[in-house]
Symmetry: C2
Subunit: 356 residues, 2 copies
DNA sequence: TTGAAAGCGCTAACAA
DNA sequence: TTGTTAGCGCTTTCAA
């Protein structure tokens, strides 16, 4: 611990008030109203007055007081984003990119992003309620939708604007952006089947998560399409972390006969599975095929590089943000929901054709 | 693309106004002032009135209008956090955890977090200026400090409250939380040297980043302490990504004789270096030692698990947030800056004693 | 083309 | 113990 003298830095918590409309009005000898309209470039202000006002405004370094504007307009120009987290030691490569996506678009459109983190559940829902009721944001972006999603239900009931990244099962239609995970996983299985794999294992995720459910459905469908039998012992559920993937993969490798391929529900688990296989002395891509889902940056540089399904997180954030702002402003009150078709990224971890 | 009928969901963008103080006042036949004071539990309101008011408030489902409170108080109850990002495809495992740290503490203290992302540079600084001048936050949390940090300089000049995660070189004292990276990297080098390594390579990071500078200084010091020669060919600079670590490690492995150990400036690069070594057929922990820095969750489950230096990101976020709120509220206008002593986490990637 | 006045919802100094 | 008045800074009728 280092100690600094207590008198070095001084924060003027009560800083000198900046110029207000009133100040400008005084300076140019006009009314506050006129100044306001001049600054907003209303038609009914004479060019001379406008010039005068603008001049004075810039001289005084005028910046509108957002707080006052917001009160007047009863808008916050802020979008809410509550991150579902599980415990403090959480780290999700997905979120930073998504946040950048919504954040950059929001900035472009003149919105701020209010971020909070909550463990899924009652506490989380309460946060939504609090924020809605105290008028702190104009709308929400929802992520990690659940099959029964109380957040969506609540917002729908309340009539509060939101856009979700992901679909759900228990609610009426609502605006969302999503990627077709079922389709994506079918692509994976089809690819593996074509390479000659017959014992394709699956590491899923908790199925209350909508995307996990979809991906699993895709696995089952893919197996059926390929005419492969579905074996309960080859289907497991992980917790989306690398560690979880590692553990589940070890389990799978212990079945006999072991699978020749493992399709994981996300990249992190796939990375864990790769480690597990390697720790058993297997060469991934030759002795066993392993695939992921998401195409996180790590997937590209893993050893071997991971075959996976691409999910354009950043762009999805962009779209969701744009849709939400459209709803809020009324410019696009009923945007069409978007379902993206994913594409397979083939790298080395799935190997090539397997000996028959 | 999926199309939904345009008439399903209805967002009441203009929702019915909720109860205000005025409504309560009317209902109980008191003045707005009295109601306000009753709700704030002032001493000078009779118990009967208080009870009456509270009753009415809950019946009406009263929720104070934050916007009005903020205007009146000229406080936003919001903390700003601008994440320096480099390009859209960015993913920082550090960031989500840090955000959870500040976010949870902020919630506890009744603050919101305003998040934005900007590429370091002029645009970023402008974002700070805008936010400060339009009174959108009460203070900032700064991360990824630079040796010459214009953000800190600006905020210091302006007298605007902030707390930084990290030190800097070009400014007077200011409140920060930091980890002693120099010390941490010395621990790493010392450990490697004790294991018998003499050719210890270093993958640094751009040295305008303060933490990168410190860690490199630690490397140099550590080498000196161990009586090892410093060779320019063994010192490289990566970009903090896994890919960067991968590429730099390949370079290092091409020197002759190659290093027997690689100390990376962060875990992501170390992970990349591990992959690089593996792609050359080396067994990490036996044929070569590789170490990281940060102890991100991935470090624990990599293959082999990564020897690294622990950095308690979540707690640092907590502390920074707490300090900042102390400054803003004036409860703790001059908190002591905190410099944490890191500890080495020895796992398998550094191996054990090397043959002499 | 301009200004006076009202109001967004809340808090606080002052008076009664 | 309570109410009156003023004001935070801005936008927006409405009238001149």
């Amino acid at each position: 611990m280092e100690t600094l003298s207590k008198t070095f830095w001084i924060f003027d918590v009560n800083q000198p008030m900046p110029a207000t409309l009133k100040d400008i009005a005084q300076k140019v000898g006009k009314s506050v109203t006129t100044v306001s309209r001049a600054l907003h470039d209303y038609d009914d202000v004479s060019p001379e007055t406008k010039a005068l006002v603008r001049q004075a405004a810039s001289e005084l370094g005028y910046i509108p007081n957002i707080l006052a504007q917001r009160l007047q307009k009863q808008r916050t120009d802020t979008l809410g984003f509550i991150l579902p987290t599980f415990g403090p030691r959480f780290s999700d490569p997905f979120f930073s990119e998504f946040l950048a996506g919504i954040g950059n678009k929001a900035t472009e459109l003149g919105y701020d992003i209010l971020v909070a983190t909550r463990p899924p559940g009652e506490e989380e829902l309460q946060a939504y309620r609090d924020i809605v009721q105290s008028y702190r944001v104009d709308g929400f972006i929802i992520v990690r939708t659940r099959r029964k999603d109380c957040r969506i239900q609540y917002l729908l009931e309340t009539g509060f604007p939101f856009v979700a990244f992901g679909r759900t099962e228990n609610a009426g239609p609502y605006p969302y952006v999503d990627e077709d995970g079922e389709y994506g996983m079918r692509l994976v299985v089809r690819h593996l089947a074509r390479l000659g794999h017959r014992r394709i294992a699956f590491i899923g995720a908790p199925e209350d998560l909508m995307f996990a459910h979809c991906r699993k459905a895709g696995y089952l469908q893919g197996m059926e399409e390929a005419g492969l039998p579905i074996e309960a012992s080859l289907i497991t559920t992980g917790d989306l972390t690398q560690r979880g993937g590692y553990e589940k993969a070890l389990q799978l490798l212990d079945t006999s006969p072991p699978p020749t391929a493992i399709a994981a529900s996300n990249d992190l688990m796939a990375l864990g599975a790769i480690n597990a296989a390697q720790s058993r002395g297997l060469e991934v891509g030759r002795d066993i095929a392993i695939t992921g889902f998401d195409n996180i940056p790590l997937a590209e540089t893993s050893h071997p590089p991971l075959t996976t399904v691409h999910q354009p997180i950043y762009q999805i954030g962009h779209m969701a943000c744009e849709m939400l702002v459209g709803i809020i402003t009324g410019a696009q009150p009923h945007p069409e929901s978007i379902l993206l078709k994913p594409s397979l990224i083939v790298r080395q971890s799935c190997g090539v054709r397997v000996a028959a």
